[in-house]
Every structure is written in C-alpha cells, then in structure tokens.
C-alpha cells in the first residue's frame, strides 16, 4: 500500500498517514491482521520524527482500527467495531463537501455515484 505525504498540505503529517491507513483498511489494501511497520521503520522510511508516527498509531489504536503490543508491534484489527453511525465530525466534513459540490454545480446523482465508487 502506497502512502502519499504532502509536506505543504494543511493537514498535519500524522493525520495524512492516519487517513490513508484508514482508507487502506476500508479498501482492503490492508488486510485484517496485517502487520504494520514499526514506528521507527516507518519514520525512517518517510524521513520524519518517530513521535509523528507514534502519534498516528496511538490515534488509530484509540479509534479501534489497529492493535499494538510489545511482542507483535502494530497490526490491523481482525474485527473492527461497527457502530453503524457516522461521527459528528465526519457529518460536518460531509456537509462541507456536499455544500462545495452544490456550489460548484455538481448534481446529487454525480455525488451519489462518487459515494458508490468509494464505498
């Protein structure tokens, strides 16, 4: 799975990595139980501080996407808890995207098509 880091983006690097790992799990690029690189290895590979990667892993663990232990390092969770609800934060983000799409003249169907493609 390829991670794209944009150092000029407004989104912090730890969040960019987090978002792409989540997308990778969702798309199946990262399989349940798949081993993730160690904090040090990933930090060295990207050329960033280990604290940044550590922050990403802590966040992913907190959100229930990965599990970490001293022996096996970080792995994608076998069973990710499915609450069936969209978080308020994501709702707000979706509202922003829909608003911008409407202002840009994108129709509801086009937006739905896009959701179907990504889902």
């Amino acid at each position: 799975m390829i991670i794209r880091i944009d150092e000029y983006s407004d989104v912090p690097i730890y969040m960019q990595i987090r978002n792409q790992i989540v997308m990778g799990i969702s798309s199946g690029d990262l399989k349940p139980g798949e081993q993730l690189p160690t904090v040090r290895a990933l930090a060295l590979e990207i050329g960033i501080n280990t604290m940044t990667v550590s922050k990403t892993y802590q966040l992913l663990k907190q959100e229930g996407y990965i599990m970490t232990d001293r022996k096996n390092g970080a792995r994608v969770r076998e069973n990710i808890a499915q609450s069936g609800v969209i978080s308020q934060e994501n709702k707000n983000e979706l509202r922003r995207i829909v608003s911008e799409a409407r202002l840009s003249g994108v129709g509801k169907d086009a937006l739905k098509e896009l959701i179907d493609e990504f889902y």
Binding site: I2, I3, Y8, I21, L30
Partner: protein
C-alpha cells in the same frame, strides 16, 4: 620495477574518471530521471526552455569531457615518466583532480535550478512510501559478508603473531611487513561490513503503485550492493592470505608490487561490474516507473551534498554516481563530512610535506631496482 606502481595508479585513475564522466553527464539526458542532480521536468523540453536546457547540459558535458581528457592525458604522461618523489606527488594530485569533474556538474546543477525558477517549476513537496515493503526489503545475508571478513581478522592476527615470532616461522620479508599489510587490509575489511549494512538499509524507492514492483526494484538494487560487498570482502581476504604467504616466503619486491597490481585490478573490476549491474536494474525498471520522485532538488547542494534538516535519515541515495551519501544536516552526517574533509586535506598536505622534505624520494618503493 617501478612501472608496476605507475600501472596501479593508472588503472585506479583512468577507469574512475571515465566512469564519473559517464555517470555525471549522460549522453541522453532527456531519458534520465535526474539531469545533473536536478529532477527532469517536461517543461525543460518545451519551446524556448528546451534550447536553454540543451545549452546548459551541453556546456556542462563539454566541461566534464575536457577535465576527463586532461586527467587521462596527464595519466599517460606520468605513465611515461620515471617514478620519482615529484611524479608520485603528481599521481596523488591527479587522484585529487578527479574531484574537479564535480565543477561542471555543480555549475550545470545550479544553472538548471535557476532554469526551474525561471520556468516557475515549484517544489511539490509530495513523497511516497510503500507501507508493504517498509523495512522488509533486504538482500544482504549477514553470514556471507561476516565470514570473509572474520577470516580476514584471523589471517591478520596470524600475520601479527608470525611477526612476533610466536610460531617460530622465519619471515623472508622485512620485519613487521606482515603486520603492516595485515592491519591495512583488515581496516578495509572492518569498513566493508558497516558499509554493506548501510547500503542494505537505504530507504526504499517508490516508483510504482504496485507494491510488488517496488519490492522487486529495491530488492534488485540491494542485491547488487550485497553481491558487491561480498565479492569485495572475499577479494580482500584472499589477497590478505595470499599476500601473507608471499611475504613469508619471498622478499621479492617485484612479486609484492605485482600482488598489489592484481588486487587493484580485481577491486576495480568488481566495482565496475557493480555499477554495470545497477545501470541494468535502473534500465529494466524505467518502464515500470509511474510515480514522480520527490522534488527535493533544493536540498542537494550542487547536486552532490544532501542537506535536509527536516529529514531524519542519515543515509540517502546518491545523485552523482551510485551508492549512498550522508545527510549533512544529521548530527552524525556533520561528523562524517568534517572527518572526510579533514582526512583529505591532511593527507594532501602530508604528501606535499613528505616530498618537500625529501622523505618521499628516499622511500623504498621509489628506489626499487
């Protein structure tokens, strides 16, 4: 027999300068990912910019060619002259003159960076990392590199013990010649192990969206380096053993110089084969390259020295030639850079001093029959 010294110097200098020229100044720069340490860009080949680009590359190439030709010419002249203190200094200065080829390269690099600014090519700041192959792509099998170097350690220890008379063997060569030779070659062996490890742990390049292609590409590159270091380790160890035996049984300086000649030729051939294999790997994977390399041209001073305080890595892939270089912004990189500069300057001063005081002229090597 001083002609052997000249041939050793000749086979060290001439192939190196030709290789440096070929790697630094590509015949077909439009087809390369990097042009004199600057990432190639389609805008370089459009309209007016194309003419400017060709002029910059052509001028640097011409400069590189002149320096290469001069180094070869002086090597041939020195080959024809008798070995004296002055000519030995001239040979050594010629080794340092190899660095001159970096002048047109650096000039071309600066001009291309200016052209980038002129064309409004801005740094994208995007980099890719393959999560699948992080820290999993390695080609070096440690026992293969440790075994020959451990043998070198044993052989060097035996050489020292023979010189100390522990085994009661009568040595034909000069007193402590075995020890000096053993320790010198052991120091090379000691350097080969960390260098092999360093090359095996360089950052993996991401050239494709397909993780398998990335893994294969990086594995192929690392395998070339691993093979190179294993071959060099064996060559070094076998030479150490063979040369020790030679020193025990003969005091013939001709035989000793011939030994050095064979060793130098062998190392040059191994290094040359390594470079050719790397070039083949690059060529093979050119068609699979679909992702743009990170634009970090500004972090490459003159296209040769990597300085990036935001990068935590110590070693990065070189832009001039093949191999790895250090990030000078890294604390360890600063120490390595300063040490290298000090060693180079001190050794040059020392050689000039030895020659000025006549000690070079009195050396055994120069006064061979």
């Amino acid at each position: 027999m001083t002609w052997i010294i000249k041939i050793v110097m000749f086979i060290c200098i001439v192939p190196t300068v030709i290789l440096m020229y070929m790697l630094g100044f590509s015949k077909d720069p439009g087809k390369k990912k990097m042009v004199m340490g600057v990432r190639d860009n389609p805008k370089f080949h459009e309209g007016e910019a194309s003419g400017k680009f060709d002029a910059i590359v052509g001028s640097a190439r011409k400069g590189g060619l002149i320096i290469t030709a001069l180094v070869i010419l002086f090597s041939v002249i020195l080959l024809c002259l008798p070995v004296t203190g002055n000519t030995m200094v001239a040979w050594i200065i010629l080794v340092f003159a190899l660095f001159l080829i970096a002048v047109p390269y650096g000039k071309g690099n600066t001009e291309l960076k200016n052209l980038k600014k002129e064309l409004g090519i801005t740094k994208s700041g995007v980099s890719y990392t393959d999560l699948t192959s992080t820290n999993t792509v390695h080609a070096l099998k440690m026992p293969w590199v440790i075994l020959p170097n451990a043998l070198a350690l044993i052989a060097a220890a035996v050489s020292v013990l023979i010189d100390l008379g522990v085994f009661g063997i009568e040595v034909a060569s000069e007193k402590f010649a075995l020890t000096m030779m053993g320790v010198s070659l052991l120091s090379i062996a000691v350097m080969l192990v960390p260098l092999a490890l360093l090359m095996d742990n360089t950052r993996n390049m991401v050239i494709s969206r397909d993780s398998n292609i990335n893994a294969n590409y990086n594995r192929a590159k690392k395998k070339t380096w691993a093979d190179l270091f294993v071959a060099m380790s064996w060559a070094n160890t076998l030479f150490l053993i063979g040369y020790s035996i030679l020193l025990v049984f003969t005091a013939s300086e001709t035989a000793m110089l011939l030994g050095i000649l064979v060793y130098t030729a062998l190392i040059m051939v191994i290094a040359g084969m390594g470079v050719v294999t790397q070039m083949r790997v690059e060529k093979r994977y050119t068609r699979d390259t679909e992702l743009e390399l990170q634009d970090d041209d500004d972090n490459w001073i003159l296209g040769m020295f990597y300085y990036n305080p935001n990068d935590t890595r110590l070693n990065v892939e070189k832009r001039l030639g093949y191999g790895a270089t250090v990030n000078i912004a890294h604390p360890a990189g600063k120490v390595i850079a300063v040490l290298t500069a000090v060693i180079l300057i001190v050794s040059l001063i020392l050689i000039v001093y030895l020659n000025a005081t006549g000690q070079m002229e009195a050396s055994d090597m120069i006064n061979l029959p």
